[in-house]
Amino acid sequence: MEPILELSGLSKVYPGGLTALDNVDLTINKGEVFALLGPNGAGKTTLIGAVCGLVRPTSGSIRAFGHDLASDWRRARNRIGLVPQELSTDMFEPVHRAVSYSRGLFGLAPDRDRIEEILRSLSLWDKRDERIMALSGGMKRRVLIAKALAHEPDLLFLDEPTAGVDVELRKGMWAIVDTMRERGVTIILTTHYIEEAELMADRVGIINRGKLLMVDQKDAMMARLGRTEAHITLARPLSALPSEIARFPVELEPGGEVLCYRGGDGTGKGKAEVAALTKALIAADIDYVGIDTRESSLEEIFVSLLGEGKAA
């Protein structure tokens, strides 16, 4: 694993006293897709802003591609792209000119072939001569992505890339992220949509009130904090848990008609235990008429972690 972005003890306290980032340590490795999850005001955009030069950190250090962003910012920023949360661009400009401007701004020579390739990959080629203001919201967001890709960054920040985008365009956006990942671009995305992180991210970080609560491989996080929940509807109500199934993490719901299993670890252990539980029920001559199982999602893990954070 080659680290390309290292945040160390990064803090940002705004003049009003709001702590937007609180001693954040984070390392991003080359080629990975990292999802930063957190509620509104958690510090996601401030973190991105600190790396991209929009926010002045109060303390701590940022190194990108081995360059200190405080002293060697030109070389570091050359390789970083940003797609902001807001649809901020000159709406009167035609698409191709806006994208060409972004390339030039980063000091690169004009390259019509490269701009065409980017516009085609984002289905914007047919719209190249249209003013940005004439495009739909989804297309405008694609323009922002095209602008961020114009200087061929190695690290790309996507701040809420699918906010306000319909389901179809959202899926299109996921495909774009996949393509960029295949090209070797390291991506850091912030999102409210947990399914987005589940689908795309290799690693997930959870941030709240400026503190990075947890950073882990998505699968490892699911394994560590994931749970399986199964509701088994019995043919005949029970008055108490039979001893044959006492070894399982089950409880009898009020009324005695439903057995509730909560266990597992997100790696499939829960499903195996539910299968073993059903066999134990049959062996104990306890009949059932329905089973409803579900795995906890990243969202539930996220909510649970935030809940713990608040309790602390």
Binding site: Y14, T46, G49, C52, G53, L54, V55, R56, W73, R74, R75, R77, N78, I80, L82, P84, E86, S88, T89, D90, F92, E93, R97, Y101, S102, G104, L105, F106, G107, L108, A109, K147
Partner: protein, 254 residues
């Protein structure tokens, strides 16, 4: 090290922005200047004596040029940086590997270019109304460029300082325009009664108008070197303020 490609990108984009409103940008100063010439040059000027041997219609050309130059340069430059701040597109500039040099050369260079174009248009318009000749044409161009640079920088500071459209317009409207009108645009300071001729010297615009008038007709209210010195001093102050803004990120970075 300065990135000339980045500078060129900012510069050309700003000029494109100007060209989008070229009709308004060119027509407005032409119309305004024509009106001034009709009112002050033809209607009133015909009853005015020559000033230092210069026909009154020709006498007011440097003043009118300065009046338009200061207003347009300041507003072009201030809008150039204020609008990206207002719309949020400033993120692109701040996240790019460009520093104060590229930003200033791009924004201020474009504002200067627009101003020089306008100056040329005004001089051509003036030719339609009065006959004039320029005594020191090279110095005149140089002085116009110097003033355009200084007020582009001033406009840039204004565009960063302003956090609403009212503030953006208040300095040109309440200070710049009145001071220019009172700065000898339409009269020589010698024509003012005492003590107003002395009080007028506290107005910095007097030195700008006077300096430009010297390059046109070889005569002015104040010494040409004082005019140059004050213009250069103002430019240096603006550069220092902008350097401070970029170093601290004031009103640019959160």
């Amino acid at each position: 090290m300065i990135s000339w490609r980045s500078t060129w990108s900012i510069y050309t984009r700003e000029l494109m922005r100007f060209l989008r409103t070229a009709f308004q940008s060119v027509l407005a100063p032409v119309l305004t200047t024509s009106l001034y010439f009709i009112v002050f040059g033809a209607a009133i000027g015909g009853r005015m004596p020559d000033l230092g041997g210069v026909d009154y219609g020709a006498f007011i050309i440097p003043g009118l040029l300065m009046l338009t130059l200061l207003g347009e340069t300041t507003s072009n430059s201030s809008f150039g940086i204020y609008m990206p701040r207002f719309t949020g597109t400033i993120y692109e500039l701040l996240s790019a590997p460009v520093g104060v040099s590229e930003t200033l050369l791009g924004f201020v260079g474009a504002a200067m270019t627009k101003s020089l174009l306008l100056a040329a248009i005004i001089l051509l318009t003036a030719r339609l109304f009065v006959d004039y000749s320029i005594a020191h044409p090279v110095l005149a161009v140089f002085y116009i460029m110097l003033v355009a640079a200084a007020f582009s920088l001033f406009g840039f500071i204004l565009g960063i300082w302003a956090d609403n459209f009212e503030k953006l317009g208040i300095i040109p409207m309440l200070f710049l325009t009145p001071l220019t009108f009172l700065g000898g645009t339409f009269y020589s300071i010698d024509m003012l009664p005492r003590p107003w001729d002395t009080i007028a010297l506290a107005n910095p615009i007097v030195y700008l108008v006077s300096g430009l008038r010297w390059t046109f007709y070889g005569q002015s209210d104040v010494n040409i070197w004082i005019s140059f010195g004050i213009t250069l001093g103002f430019l240096a102050i603006c550069v220092a303020v902008i350097a401070f803004i970029f170093r601290t990120g004031w009103r640019l970075r959160a």
